[in-house]
Amino acid sequence: MIAEFGHFALTLALAVAVVQSTLPLIGAARGDAGLMALAPAGAMAQFGLVALAFGALMHAYIVSDFSLAAVAQNSHTAKPMLYKIAGTWGNHEGSMLLWALILALYGAAVAAFGGNLRDTLKARVIAVQGAIGFGILAFILFTSNPFARLESAPFDGQSLNPLLQDPGLAFHPPLLYLGYVGLSTTFSFAVAALIEGKVDAAWARWVRPWTLAAWGFLTAGITLGSWWAYYELGWGGWWFWDPVENASFMPWLAATALLHSAIVAEKRDALKAWTVFLAIVAFALSLLGTFLVRSGVLTSVHAFASDPTRGVYILLFLVVTVGAAFVLFAWRGPTLAGTGRFDPVSREGALLINNFGLTVAAASILLGTLYPLFLDVLGAGKVSVGAPYFQRVFIPMMVPMLLIMAVAPMLSWRSANAGRAVASLKWAGVIAFAVGFGVWLSIDRASALASFGMALAAWVFAATVYELATRSRTWRGLLRQPRVSWGMTLAHAGIAIAVAGMTASSAWKVEDIRVMKPGETTEISGYQITFTNVVDLRGPNYTAMRGTFEVRSGGAAVTTLQPEKRIYDVGRMPTTEAAIRPTVLGDLYAVIGDPDGQGGYVVRLYFNPLVAWMWTGALIMVLGAGLSLSDRRARATRPLDASAQAAA
């Protein structure tokens, strides 16, 4: 009964979306306040209805209602409650409903917080958001109905893939979707501005917080996914350039570019058409990601629920949505010429290079991801593009970006003296050189490239700290820095810390694989590791073999590592649960494998240097986004008021 109620709410939401996406547009064109007022009301109603439907579906998972096809296929009574709940979005139907829910949430947020928007712009933004909602809801109702009933309910469900039964992964999709779908808001802003034919500083100012929110969530979601791969898949790596990982990384790159170009559009009335274009592209890449995951056009480890009809629908949706936006862009774009002029060497110039680099990076990842498909379509045979391509192309592109990133905040708007800016960073240069040379001398003379990577990280970090110091001058000045500018400082420092982590953990990973018998001791990176015993355990829905390892350093006990190998009852699928001891300098990582039949076990030990820096750096970036958003000035909607000018 509750499921039917959810289904009904979803159908009603579709009807609301029709109203929300049409009447306010007519109202905005005619200047009819009554019709325009339907927009916020519609957005609220749509959010309420989709939330009801989502609640009904979650209820079905919690009570294990196996008469619903989606629940029977993806849940099981013996699953812990957290994973029953997470199971709501751990499959195709449910995750599309989550998509729709978050879309409606952003629509409602524009309605609630957009009080200072121009009436026509607000009505149009919400209408476009409603049109996207219409497409997604129709997709759910007609091709992937989560409330479809089975003829006869099975006794128990087929359970969720054990690899996905993990707290990190339970929250990975919602965060990632908050990012992906958040870009729909910037898209709606761009389309609304194109309909109005007006992109001004106020528009750019309104777009920035929405971009920032989506970017923050996307950063958090990607990080969580990478962290999960690191500890759950048990092979010590954290990024595999898989098509689906790329699908989340491309919108991130585009959103990062948008974040920067919107600043230029707001402060300098330049790069306006480009900013609008990026806003469209960022969401187009999000949709492309959805398409790649659901349609099965590419082979990927993540690809789930491949179904050609769904693929056709999403493709159609993608082409219509983005196509319409691009047609509008071709029509209105040429009229959006900005008034701001600037020299090549200036803050604008540096941000332009940033945009160029990020866009080219996103394009080359797109090319690598889709290249196998293109070749196939052209009849040139099938190929697979792997990590070697992406590493060779992506990493060299990031080097000039990081070099310039340190200098850009020191440049003044319009025209800057590059010599003076670089000269002021001489100490950052000295620190970077010392770090790079020190690492090369003391750690690794074989890999000059890795030492260069550490030097780059130090360069960005030192320059970011120096920029903050010159900006605040005194300790009191430091405390008076507006939160928006702290946001930039933290995001840049976070990047530097993450780059150090990525470089070190890729270059200096220590690995030891051996057969050990209980009682034996081995050594890795200065730790003595004693294999104490192996016990069999019973978990809620799995049996496990747990090894215990005593870790000592220089005679003193450090910690106990207890990696597990689990076999889940349903499907008999084995998973590894690595035991990790994170420290500032590196992670000690232990995995236990199969017994060799003679009393020994295959044991894998890793020392991953600075890997925690990567997650910490990403967390600092997210914190920066949050801090920036919490600043009233970032959300102030009256453009270019005095305080905002001072913050700039």
């Binding site: 293109f374 196939d376 099938k382 295959v602």
Partner: protein, 176 residues
């Protein structure tokens, strides 16, 4: 001229749309192989450490075998690996062609996850993979007692693929 620039995104989207539409009709897992029913190309690959005698086509004669093309940098190969270990345990010989891999990475991969292969040839420049018409990784061929290619599977073999498709073919060929 400037106008044309603004039309560019539409053109790109249209191209992408057409490519996807054509691509949707194709299953990336299903590929014809011109080699089906023909003898495996002849080759003699060195082993991963560079020494001679890794894997030569002459070894295929006289038994039903699997030939698996893999690389340590290919995530689906890792996903497939446990299945290969199980198949190897059941006594069916699997030969590996290690595609464009660094020797140290390939060695580490096998040390980490186990070695299911009775012989491995290192295809450093990918020439043998081209002879086999390999498109994607991993890819697995089944050859019969005369060394003739009887089946080709693209992408990782999962449990169902093995039980429903590949294992019956192997058994059928063994019975002949």
């Amino acid at each position: 001229m400037r106008r044309l620039l603004y039309l560019l995104p539409i053109a790109l989207l249209a191209a992408l749309g057409i490519a996807f539409t054509v691509g949707l009709g194709r299953d990336p897992q299903k590929l014809p192989s011109v080699l089906l029913g023909k003898p495996a190309p002849s080759f003699a690959l060195p082993s991963i450490d560079g020494s001679a005698g890794g894997f030569a086509s002459t070894e295929l004669k006289g038994k039903v075998s699997l030939i698996n093309v893999w690389a340590s940098w290919c995530p689906p190969c890792r996903v497939e690996h446990p299945i290969l270990m199980d198949i190897a345990k059941s006594g069916i010989p699997i030969y590996g062609i290690n595609y464009k891999d660094k020797p140290e990475d390939a060695t580490r991969f096998l040390a980490n996850l186990g070695n299911p292969y009775v012989g491995i040839g290192a295809d450093r420049d990918g020439k043998v993979a081209i002879d086999f018409g390999v498109y994607g990784y991993p890819e697995t061929f089944i050859t019969d007692r005369d060394g003739i290619i009887r089946y080709k599977h693209v992408g990782p073999i999962n449990k169902l693929d093995w039980e429903r498709t590949l294992a019956p073919i192997v058994q059928e060929l063994m019975r002949k």
